[in-house]
């Protein structure tokens, strides 16, 4: 089936099988390997991308369902060579160790701050509660997102 998906602002047209999952479409068809893939059962959230601005677990979305829609992956966060505030927060506060969960965490963090620019710790923890950090670095992930909220409030 022929689909057109806009990923990070750029439309991609591809012929895909209906059973192809969005994760594999991004990773294998478009070579956007920043989107990770872990449990494959919608539990861990490492595959999280934004679909029309809302984070979803891409291992549980068919690529054909994204036809005509917009997807943002971690590769799309940086703008004009400058990292997004949430990325800077993860750098500043050691928000990642192995980095496996990081792309998904960043996309959820971006969505959270877009909707709630000044989240408290509880709200941050709730927002990322569907995502597992195998390195268990939650404290610093929460701090990183807070850092980004504060940085954006200042700018």
């Amino acid at each position: 089936m022929r689909i057109t998906v806009t990923v990070n602002g750029q439309p991609y047209e591809r012929d895909v099988e209906p059973r192809l999952l969005l994760t594999h479409f991004l990773r294998d068809e478009l070579d956007l390997t920043g989107t990770h893939w872990g449990c494959d059962t919608s539990n861990c959230g490492v595959c999280t991308v934004q679909l029309d601005g809302v984070p979803v677990k891409s291992c549980t979305v068919l690529a054909v369902m994204a036809d005509g829609h917009e997807v943002t992956t971690v590769e799309g966060l940086e703008k004009d060579g400058e990292l997004d505030a949430v990325q800077k927060g993860f750098v500043e506060c050691h928000g990642l160790q192995c980095g496996f969960c990081t792309p998904g965490m960043l996309l959820t963090a971006r969505w959270l701050l877009d909707n709630k620019p000044d989240p408290d710790e509880g709200e941050i923890r709730e927002a990322i509660s569907g995502q597992l950090c195998r390195c268990t670095g939650y404290e610093n992930i929460v701090r990183s997102i807070r850092w980004a909220a504060e940085a954006e409030a200042k700018s």
Binding site: R19, D40, T108, Q131
Partner: protein, 286 residues
């Protein structure tokens, strides 16, 4: 890597189109909305539909509104929308209580109310919520639209009143003036199914309980409700003792099974305790 078996994929452009597609592909077609129950089952090959009818584009099924004194929740309303929608959580905070603990925020962005109900999992949260609220399911098929009380909607584990060729359109919930409602769930971790959960809806008249709804999930309560416990409440003034007794009666009529989430006697204990807590919180909110 888990990959579903091959299937034909069709996108419905309207409700009549969806019904036409269901008719064309027959009983081996499945409707897909958020896909968060069906796609994992397809990956595990527990489900192998020959065709998927995608209803994500049917915005007419994604509305939350009030019509004729009833809350109308379209089957395509996503869990996150139900949680955020004051239309529903205003009259009935039970929706907010429940939606906060259904799956996780990312899954809630995609999963739908109708999808959860049609999956018919015996541990599903909204089944208990809608049972407590005495909602009505609106179903459309080739013969037209029919309404089924939610307390008759689940015909068994993973079996619902939605037949081949039919589509769940909406849930309608009567809005009771001055009712209080609440949902109490015990889960082992975020995103897990409940070990047990209970929902309660109460309406008072002249200081006594005039209407009571109790929904239970994951504890083998028939049709996700507790009619004997509800009957005990009617006509009595609300209070700790009467709620505890209702909890005890509700638990007595459950048939929980032991599994990896806990032994049956623990679940029965939870059925009583969570019913009691939900009733107490519901009455505080009146």
């Amino acid at each position: 890597m888990q990959v579903p078996a091959t299937f034909a994929y069709e996108r419905a452009g309207s409700v009549p189109h969806a019904l036409e597609l269901l008719d064309r592909y027959g009983p081996d077609a499945r409707v897909v909305a958020g896909g968060h129950s069906l796609i994992p089952m397809m990956k595990l090959r527990l489900a192998q539909p020959e065709a998927l009818i995608d209803i994500n584009g049917l915005s007419e099924l994604a509305q939350l509104s009030v019509e004729d004194g009833e809350l109308v929740i379209g089957s395509m309303v996503r869990h996150a929308e139900l949680l955020a929608g004051a239309v529903a959580t205003g009259p009935y905070p039970i929706f907010e209580d429940a939606e906060r603990v259904i799956a996780d925020p990312i899954v809630r962005n995609r999963g739908t109310v109708g999808g959860s109900l049609c999956q018919g999992d015996p541990s599903e949260d909204l089944a208990a919520v809608f049972a407590a609220l005495r909602a009505t399911a609106v179903i459309q098929g080739p013969a037209g639209v029919r309404k089924v009380p939610v307390r008759e909607f689940h015909e068994g584990p993973y079996e619902t009143a939605v037949g081949d060729g039919e589509l769940l359109l909406a849930l309608r919930v009567p809005i009771l003036d001055g009712a209080g409602s609440a949902y109490e769930k015990v889960e082992r971790r975020v995103g897990d199914w409940p070990v047990a959960a209970a929902g309660a809806v109460l309406q008072l008249d002249g200081g006594v309980i005039a209407r009571a709804g109790i929904g239970l999930t994951a504890v083998g309560a028939e049709h996700f409700c507790a009619p004997e416990a509800e009957a005990h409440l009617i006509g009595k003034p609300p209070g700790a003792e009467v709620f505890a007794e209702a909890g005890r009666i509700a638990a007595e009529h459950c048939e929980p099974h032991s599994d990896q989430r806990g032994p049956a006697d623990y679940k029965r204990h939870l059925a009583a305790e969570l019913t009691r807590r939900a009733l107490a919180r519901a009455v505080e909110r009146i």
